[in-house]
Amino acid sequence: MKAMVRRGVVTGVIILVAFLLQNNIFAAIPLISITPNLLLLVTVTFGLLHGRLTGLFVGFFSGLLADAFGGTLLGQYALILSVLGYGCGFFTPYFYLESVLLPMGVCAASELIYGLYVYVFAFLFRGRFNIGFYFMNIIVPETIYTVVILVIVYRFLVFVNRRLEESAKRRSADKFV
């Protein structure tokens, strides 16, 4: 139970850090006109590492945070991120910690779906039909950027995860001794 609380707190902190980085550091740098989607990255990684349910909840809370401070409607990002996190959980059995290729592929696919979702609901419905433009200038750069960041922070997230699992094991082992 303690390990679960611990994991919850660490996960919450990671989500919060991702959110603050995305909105306050990356967004403040005008030279980089496209910002990576760190919340999606965290959701995808957790979904891959821990399966559908964790992906679902991490996605939901990440999305809720993004909604609270970024969306026009509460729930729009929570919806897409929880579905994506859940979807990523299906790849958990095929996933090895050492290889970064599967996370890259899953992350890119999730980004594309996410981008299309935002485009359809926020732009297409208002009569902006030039999907090619939005795809090449916003969705694709954001995807590339997020995947690059994934490669960089992936080791870190895996490391944190391993530490958490080890400490959880140690604790349960202590109990029996």
């Binding site: 909105n23 306050n24 967004a27 403040a28 989607n37 349910l53 679902l56 970024g70 409607l73 509460l74």
Partner: protein
């Protein structure tokens, strides 16, 4: 409570997914109908806004350092050009000052006060730019506690000030501002000229913004001659924006292919890349009807529509 936990384990993940989807849909529905001033944001804001205020300074200074390096190279060239421009402007300034005295005198006669000084304003810091790349809105560190309401106009301070945007939602200690460069922004505007048929509409357009850094300027009367660099101000006709606030400068105004109206680009007066402090006008535009609090969520869209239709009618009536 413990029973629930045990049961939760037995529920298939699929069902939890459905539950979350339904929950999200319900939230979307609720905020759609009842406006965005939701308690969740307000509670979260209490904890997160202070963190952001600190972090944002870090981000801004980091950005500042990078910007410094980059601009140093261009600075010398620019300096030369600016010197020349300065000389020109000085002569123009003295001429305008003369006219300004005259204007003051005439205004006194007519009984009009100076346009801006009558508004109560408050300064606020930008603490968060929007996440993602689709939208252009940001949070400022003041809210209802400082008298900010939905619909307040936001300007950039300083001499090169101009219209930045409008407050779309507000909490106790923060307010959300939609910038005029946002894709869904429409501002009823007018070209500064002595002709009377001078109304137009300034719309944000993500496509145009990415390609040229400009906004779109539409529904200009065909008979009006608009030169490059003509000042575009907010219009009296606008239902949301106070009149006579500088928005930017016209560029490339040409007759549309349908030969009914003119359109072009608008170069914004405000540098949106480097926006750290803004001024919020606490007075709201008086429309006669008054915005009731229930309407605040949809006010952005509905007003945008009315402004667009205003522009159309103004443009079509030759």
């Amino acid at each position: 409570m413990k029973d629930k936990h045990k049961k939760l384990r037995d529920v298939p993940p699929r069902h939890i997914l459905y539950a979350v989807i339904v929950l999200c849909a319900a939230m979307i529905g609720l905020t759609w109908f009842f406006g965005s001033a939701n308690p969740v944001t307000n509670i979260l804001a209490k904890a997160i806004i202070p963190m952001q205020t600190g972090l944002n300074e870090l981000g801004s200074s980091l950005a500042g350092q990078l910007e410094n390096l980059r601009t140093l190279q261009n600075a010398q060239e620019e300096n030369k050009l600016l010197q020349e421009e300065l000389a020109l402007l000085r002569s123009e300034n003295s001429r305008l000052q003369e006219q300004s005295y005259e204007l003051d005198r005439l205004r006194d006669l007519v009984g009009l006060e100076d346009a801006y000084s009558q508004y109560t304003m408050t300064a606020a810091r930008v603490i968060q730019k929007d996440s993602g790349n689709w939208f252009h809105s940001f949070l400022i560190d003041k809210g209802t506690e400082d008298g900010i309401q939905v619909g307040c106009n936001v300007l950039a301070g300083g001499a090169e000030g101009g219209l930045v945007g409008i407050v779309t939602s507000v909490g106790d200690n923060y307010a959300r501002v939609r910038a005029i460069i946002d894709d869904s922004s429409n501002v009823g505007a007018m070209v500064l000229t002595d002709q009377s048929n001078n109304s137009c509409v300034v719309s944000g357009d993500l496509e145009l913004l990415t390609q040229t850094g400009c906004l779109s300027l539409q529904y200009i009367d065909k008979g009006l001659t608009v030169e490059d660099g003509a000042k575009i101000l907010t219009s009296n006709l606008s239902s949301e924006y106070l009149p006579d606030i500088l928005i930017g400068y016209a560029q490339n105004v040409t007759v549309d292919s349908d030969n009914l109206q003119q359109s072009g680009y608008l170069v914004p007066a405000v540098d949106f890349d480097d926006l750290r402090e803004v001024m919020v006008i606490l007075d709201l535009k008086e429309t006669g009807e008054g915005l009731s609090e229930g309407e605040t969520q949809t006010s952005g869209e509905s007003a945008a529509e009315t402004e667009t239709s205003q522009g159309e009618t103004a443009g079509e009536g030759e």
